[in-house]
Structures are given as C-alpha cells and as structure tokens.
Symmetry: C2
Subunit: 481 residues, 2 copies
Amino acid sequence: MATRKRLLNLDTMNQAVLDVEDPLGSVIAREVEMQQEINQGIKKPFDKVACCHLGDLQLMGYPPCTFLRQVAALCTYPELLDSDRFPQDAKQRARDIIKQLANGSVGSYNMTHINYEVNQKVAKFIERRDGGIPSNPRDILVSDGATQAILAVLAMAVNNEGTLRTGIMVSVPYHPLYADTIRLNEAVKVEYLLDEEHGWAVNVDNIRESLYAARKHCDPRVLCVINPGNPTGHVLSRDSMEEIIRLAAQEKLLLFADEVYQDNVFAPGAIFHSFKKVLFEMGPEYSERVQLVSVNSISKGISGECGLRSGYVEFVNVDPEVFGYLYILKSYELPNGVGVVAMESLLEPLQPGDPSYETFQAERRTLLNNLAKNARLAEEILNRAPGIHCNPIQGAMYAYPRIHIPDTAITLAQDQGVAPDALFCHLLLEDTGIILLDGTSFGQAAGTYHVRLSLIHPPQELKSTLQKIVEFHARFVQEYS
Amino acid sequence: MATRKRLLNLDTMNQAVLDVEDPLGSVIAREVEMQQEINQGIKKPFDKVACCHLGDLQLMGYPPCTFLRQVAALCTYPELLDSDRFPQDAKQRARDIIKQLANGSVGSYNMTHINYEVNQKVAKFIERRDGGIPSNPRDILVSDGATQAILAVLAMAVNNEGTLRTGIMVSVPYHPLYADTIRLNEAVKVEYLLDEEHGWAVNVDNIRESLYAARKHCDPRVLCVINPGNPTGHVLSRDSMEEIIRLAAQEKLLLFADEVYQDNVFAPGAIFHSFKKVLFEMGPEYSERVQLVSVNSISKGISGECGLRSGYVEFVNVDPEVFGYLYILKSYELPNGVGVVAMESLLEPLQPGDPSYETFQAERRTLLNNLAKNARLAEEILNRAPGIHCNPIQGAMYAYPRIHIPDTAITLAQDQGVAPDALFCHLLLEDTGIILLDGTSFGQAAGTYHVRLSLIHPPQELKSTLQKIVEFHARFVQEYS
C-alpha cells in the first residue's frame, strides 16, 4: 500500500499548502503525546506538562464570563427562559437576541451578512468604544473569530496577476498565522523590525526602509500591525499610531489592524487607542483616504471564549464592491450561531445595578489584575537572570523575553537542523514539562533568540514556572558554554 | 470619494474572487429587501414571502432536536447539570462530553484534530452505520459543517503548476458551492449530466464521456457525487454506486462523496448506502485503491442545525501526509465548540427505555413523514400541470422539476441578460412571494429549465404553495406564448 502512488499525494496536491508551518500545531501535538506518556507511567523529571504556549484563558482555569454563558445557554435552549436559575438581565438579553434570530433559532441560517442586525450592535459597540465616531453596520463582517477574518481579508487582498507579487508587511515578531496566510496565498512576506531596544515600539523608519527595499521585488500593499502586541505585549502610543497612519496614507498601504487584545491592557499608563479612532481624529485628509481593516474577537479580551469562535472585522474606506465579494464568500462560511450569540451578549455593557453587573466586573478585575501581576513577575524574575531580558509588558497575554543561547548550543542546533531557540524550548520541555514557543516561529532580528511565554496562569503558579525557566536557562548556558 | 482610486479595489483585489457567484446570496438579499418593503407597507399581491429556496428546517418551523439542544445548553453552562429541567440521559451525555473537553470548557481551544477524542466517537458512529467496516479516527476531520470541509478538501486537491489545470468533475445539476469552490481555486469545472429521463440517476457513460473530452484541456482528478442528490432528490442504487467506484478506480479519480442528506431518505424502497460501505464490500481490489472522501453535517439529517455549523469528513486511502496538511490548515480554523458538542450528542444512538428516546423518535418521524408527504404532493401537483415534470423524489429535501419556458419568455430573458429560469423565478417571486432557485444556478442540460423547491414546509402550506406555483406557471406560459 505504502508504495502505491496515490492520486492525491504530496506531489500532486496544492503546493502552496506544503509551505504552511503552523508551529503551534506541532508543539501541541508534542504536548498531547507527552501527557499520554505521563499517563502511561513513563518516568519524567516532572509531574505534569505546564502549558505556557497558548493564550487560552479557560484552559488555564479562568472561569468563563458567567453572563455570556447564561445568555448563550438560554439562546441554545430557550425553554430555560422561565427558569429561576438565571438572573433577569441575562434572560432579557437572551429574549432580545432570540427575537432577532431567524425564526428564533440559533440553528437557522442566520444571515448576519445580509440582514445586518448583529452588525448594528457591533457598530454601536464600536461607536461607544471610539467616543461616538460613526460606524456603519454595512462595513462590518461577523466572522468565526479573528483568524477566519484574517485569512479571508488577506486572501482577498492578494493579486499575483501582474509582474510583481503582492507583498504583505508584517512586524517582526508577528503571529505565525500571518506568515502562513501569506504562504498559502503565495504572497510575499515583507518584514519590518519592531524596536526591541524601545520596548517593542513600532519604528516607522524600519517600515519605510523595508517597504522601499521590498518594492524592488514585490508590490507591498498591506501593512499589518498587531496592537496590543502579540507576542510583544507592547501597547502602541497615540503618537506612534499617527505616524503609522501617515505612512499608510503616503505609501498607499491598506492598514490591517489586529486589535484582538484591545481589552487586555493592564500596565499603569498604557491606554488602548483603536486605529479607527486615531484615524478619524486626524481629520478627513486621513479618515477619508486610508483603507483600514480592524479585527476583534471574543477569544481574547475578558471573555476568553477561544472555543466558541466569534469575532468581527470592520472596514474603513474599502470599496463596497470589494467588501461585497467578501460577503459572498462568507455566505458559504456563515459564522456559527452560538458564537455570534455569545459575542452579542457583551456588545452592550451591563450597567451598575443590573443583577449581573457586580459578577461581571469582578470577573473582569480578576483577569486584568492577574495579567498585571504576572507581567510584573515575568519582568522581575526574567530580568534578574543573566542572559535573559524582558521588555516591559503593557498588554495582551504574553512575555517575549530575549534569551542568550551559547555558541555551542547554536552549533548543536544547526547540526540537528533546528533553530537554536527551538532547541532550547525542546530541551526545556523534556526537562521541566514547561511548554514555550520559540522566537523563530514569531520572527526575530538575526542573531537574537526569544521565547513566548503566556501570562495566564494563576500568579503563584507562574512564579514557580518562571523560576524553573530561569534555572533551566542557567544550566543550559553552563552546559553549552 | 467615489472617484478616488482605492488601494484595494475591484481591479487590484484577488481576481479569482470576482468569479464567485453565490446565487443563493442574491436571492436571500432580495427576500430580505422584499420583507422590508412589506413591513414598510408597500403593497404586494401577497401577504408574506414564502421561503422555498433553503434547506433550513428550523427557519421553516421544525423544532430543534430536544436532546441535542439540552446537551448543548448543559455543556455551555454546566451549572445546569444539577437542574431538574433536564432528563438524566441528557445530563449524562453532557457530563461525558464535558469530561473530555479541554479543562471541561467548550470555550477552550479543543484540538479535535490533535487529540482525536471526538474523532473516536465519529469513527464509532460510522462503523455502526456501515455494519462494522472499520473507521480510523485519524482519517477523520471535524469541521464547521460540510461547506468548510468541501472548501478545504477541494482546495487541497487543486494543483495548477503543471501544463494542465486540475479538473473537478461535478454532476449537472450540482450544488452552487461546488462551482464557486472550483472558480475560487482556479480549477476547471468538468460537468457530467445526470440522467433526468431515469429519475436523475448517475450514468457512468456520461461521466466517462465528459472525462475523456476534458482530458484534452485539463487534468480531471476529482469526481464529486452528491447522494442523496441535491437538488435532485435521487438516491443512488447500490449497483450504480459500484459502477461509479469501478470508474473511479479505472480512471484514478478521487471520489468526493457529499453524503450530507444520508438521514433524509423517505421514499418506499429507497435505501442510503454509504460509498465507504459499498467500496469495502467490493473487496480489497477497490477498498485499498480508491481514494474516497465523504462529508456529513448536522445542518441536514434529522437535527437540521444549519446555524450551529458542525460536521465531519472521512478520508479513505488518502496519504497521511496529505491529510496532515489539512490538519495543519484546520488548526487555524478550529471547529466551534458548541457545534462539535451538538454533533457529539447524536453520535451514539439513544436506546429504547432512555428518558429521551421517545421524544427523539417522534421528532425524527415527524420530519421524515412530512418530507415523504411533501415529496408525494410535489410529484402529484407538479406532474398534473402541463409543461412541468417532476421526477420521483426519494431523499434530501428538494424537488427539482423541469418547467417549460415559452420562446417569447426566453427571448425576453436574453434581452434582459438573465437566464430564462431566473426570469421565471423573479416574476414568480414578485407575483406570489414564493422564492424558488433557478436551475441555471444548479446546472441543467442545454435547452432545459428547472427550479429548485424545498420540501420542508408543513404539508398543508406546501400544498397551497405548489398550487400557486402551478397556477402562476400556467399564466406565465399563456402570457408568453
């Protein structure tokens, strides 16, 4: 069987797919395997695998947002609407949502892209967030999370029919999804370095330099910015955002703003500004000219509903015809009903006095306080260690420290055909059970090495994890020096 | 603003997208518009729009499967597990599912493609369906409904790097999604005619003829078969399936079986056989050679959960490496948690004596009896009308009658730049409020015209709809003769 040449095989399949890497997938597969080995009684130097590679709040034990889940359960099984197990505000919100579902069911095809009813709520949410700057429901697309939106919008923007391929600019570090989407669409990845010396800020000179160099071999048309930064934890200053917008205007780049961590800002003084708001406050010269796409998701923020798959994308100054085609595409990939309902449940804020208000605020505070505590812990413990440097973390859910890797380890990694930081992560996992992601998967300046560590464990647990990482790194440096 | 050339516009965007048609989308948009006109008090010759264009059971008033929704609500809000509002079997099934969710939450990233736990249940479901023929959990991919699986698998199979483009064979009529997927991937649509004279059976001579002709200009590698047929309602005989499998083996075609209506078979004597079962019963000569992909979905069947978006795809004889890439891709597009839970709830059958058994069976019977009644009504009423012919309907949820369109109407349609059957559907809608889909969107033999009509209204309502269609058609023929 194995020798018989199949019809659909690696040679005959879509070759663009062969370039997809999905570094998270292979790490998670190793995690599952390792957990199985532990369950089978295979001896390890640790008791359990510590998952520091994902931004999955609920996996890490954060309870889901009670109000959201109540509304989702009520919409899924409306027979519960008369149950006294639910507070009045959850029942009222569920009733409002059910009224607007096709024939009252999350199980009908709910054509959010045609009837715009959910879009209206998203638009109001955005207007509230942005201090009243108008948002048009027809410029919004509800999607199964940010990932689906990123895949669809970037695919839409790629046109390789001319002499030059489409270039898509991504920060370094970026999220691996961007690199894979670019590969899948056979576009060109144009990297610009974030400024590690200045807390991972965006340096527009770096963008401009990369852009001009790239124009010799491709046609860069999209500038992707992740704010708050993943994996960096940097939150862009308003000045920096204005600079980016001016550059997008001058260079005619579509600005693709990945703003999924907009509610995860916790450092004193750090404030999230949406690109939409800054754009409009810069006046019509920019707000009528710059094409902006912004994505948001319920996977992050304060709900952390990674598994429910819901989010939205807002378009500014994108031709309705172009957008219309995205709608057509999405009419085949309708967003899932319960995910949409879950997102809707939080689009209008609970008010003081509402039965669910205090619980909601307490859940929110716990998460943001823990993130803030964990960020400080990571900075303190990592920066005390020789050979590790961690920038201040202002938002999102990760630390992205730089780690020293000795030359002997670099040579060993090269011999094994793996990246030096991937080797470090591999050895760390086998020795301590701690899973980090290597900087090579996110991108980094040549000759530097990083790891991404998620900050969503309970602070006490994170402290011990950080200490183990630091101790392992010291042993690692010693062993390979 | 309108005159300013945008960065991302119709000329610069992905040109493959421009070819996507989505005929359902435009009809649904017109439906929404029309309903709004009625709400605004604009006078119409009818009171309400009759949606006969969708296979959306819940939109048409079928209640969702109680057991499924109970399990889904319990998994979404597990605080309800101690509530006496739920039968014991629903609570037990929810507990079993929750135990296996990552940290017990539908809101975690549940990596069905890595841990295979849902896949194991799907595999057991398939084995039970196919009388024990083994199903490997590692050959299964859980997806957000069949649509997502069709899009992903066909994209995977397209490789236009050689001198000939990949050809994908589709029956005529087909589902529009196939045509659009082929366009999006810049593959070649190779049509083979179903045999309308013989109840829309598959005629392998037609396939072979199309295949040989197509090989002159493309490389046909995938043969798509929809069974039970959408829009035809034909259920393939076992003999016919064997012929198709032999042809796939001889001609080295990957057999792509769209089996989403496998539980919607209602005509006396009609039996659904899965392609997998027939393939394996034909012996190793075929079962070890033919590459088969089969999709299934909870949108149809007896649950009709279109909005929850869940389904699966099973691969037979597809290289694990190829399949591995699909897994990588899908690790970015994880199936939504509640959809998966909903699917899981029905993978193991309820047993007589279980508290939910009777309700479940009653819900199932109501649906299948109504479909059977409606199919007979459609055959009787349509076949009595001059100029309309409807084949026997054995399964799925639609009638696809052939309608006579007089020459004058054909000329008028040509003048208006629309297809003659699309003109008919348009006039019917404006006059009666009944929405049908035109045969042009599904494909039909040259010079023939059809409409697709869904059979999911309550029988009494469908009867009156059918009569209106027949009367309108008579007037239409008279007017244009």
